[in-house]
Symmetry: C2
């Protein structure tokens, strides 16, 4: 983890919030990956603050389950287990379709325009070979829909679930199914624009199921690759 990996352009006034946001963005964009050690001194130097402030950010991120803090062992970027991964997507499948339905009822033309801008940015990021940013924007699309639905509490839940999904994708994504969404978001926006609640809910549900099944969440010999296999390569 280098200075340039984490520092966007923040020469002045780093508060605990801005640091948490910067780290969160770096995690979203896969610039730092699950398991990465987040040393307090290191971060303190990078952002030009004392450990006090850094600790506050790390604690904040640990409440979002983006960072795993263990007593006397420090903080690392979280590595969701298979169980957690399933749970996160099941939670999303429970929350987001209904939320998309509400969003379809409430979406204004300016909401639609914003979502379309997001999609365009996402495609642009893909074209410029910046998959991390594309992934971040793809998540933003989901949190934005939650915001449109005007249910702040649920939107907050979805936001954390989307963030955790980013970790899960980093760990369990299988490249084979690279055909991914591409049109799913477009279709969703269309349903929202048409105030077609039924369709919005259905599209969101199937979109999430697609995502879920595009992950390699089979049971695996986790943490003990039998040693023989691992060394026989």
């Amino acid at each position: 983890m280098t200075r340039t990996t984490l520092l966007p352009a923040m020469q002045n006034a780093a508060t605990s919030d801005t640091i948490a946001q910067a780290l969160s963005l770096a995690i979203h964009e896969h610039r730092i990956t699950p398991g990465t050690k987040l040393g307090e001194d290191e971060l303190a130097e990078i952002y030009g603050v004392s450990r006090t402030v850094v600790r506050a950010s790390l604690q904040s991120l640990s409440h979002l389950k983006l960072v795993d803090i263990r007593r006397n062992k420090g903080a690392r970027v979280a590595s969701p287990s298979l169980t957690e991964a399933h749970e996160v997507f099941e939670a999303r499948e429970l929350l987001e379709p209904r939320t998309a339905r509400s969003a379809a009822k409430l979406a204004t033309p300016s909401d639609i325009a914003l979502l379309e801008r997001h999609i365009n940015e996402e495609h642009a990021a893909l074209d410029t070979a910046d998959p991390g940013r594309a992934l971040y924007l793809s998540g933003l699309f989901h949190t934005e829909i939650a915001r449109i639905a005007n249910q702040g509490t649920i939107a907050g839940f979805i936001e954390t679930l989307v963030a955790r999904s980013s970790l899960i994708i980093a760990l369990y994504w299988r490249r084979e199914s690279a055909l991914c969404e591409k049109h799913a978001h477009h279709a969703l926006v269309r349903a929202l624009a048409d105030h077609d609640e039924e369709q919005a809910e259905a599209l969101m549900r199937s979109h999430l199921v697609d995502l879920h099944s595009a992950l390699d969440l089979r049971e695996r010999n986790s943490r003990a690759p039998s040693l023989k296999e691992a060394l026989s390569q």
Copy 2:
């Protein structure tokens, strides 16, 4: 807020977690009410630690929306707005019925026994005129069901929603509808014991709707009682 209000029996080793838990319990049991100032020095003295540790607990509680921290203004017990109150219960109505269904599928005899113990304790607390404790146990009943459903992520959401409900009840409960649940929890346990998923889901939904409507969530002249009225008493 006195020593005895917050200190259960903790003469040694108060960590940030134990303090957060103690405060959370006090909030649950309505021993400290929305709006109460939580001064850092005060808490530090009460629990015999430095402000560093206290700050960590308060930040933790603020992530759960039990405490409201404002920069340079300190921490107070949160006072959910009417909007927030509605949102919390709508979120519960979305999450908990489905969770109760899962719990009905998975509940073991020992789970049922535990739930029945909770109900008995709750009644005992009511008999000994300890409504705060009864309220806490009533919330515990809901989080316990979420735990049985074996969906840790959703259970975590429900836990925070239940906690926030405690604040909402402190602010908006109307005594008139004191007939409250009493049997609702019993009926739910029965449905869980019978593995009657349909029934469990339906009962949980109607139970939550009852709770929601037992609140006085009408629009009110919030935060500006016109000054004349306030002073004419």
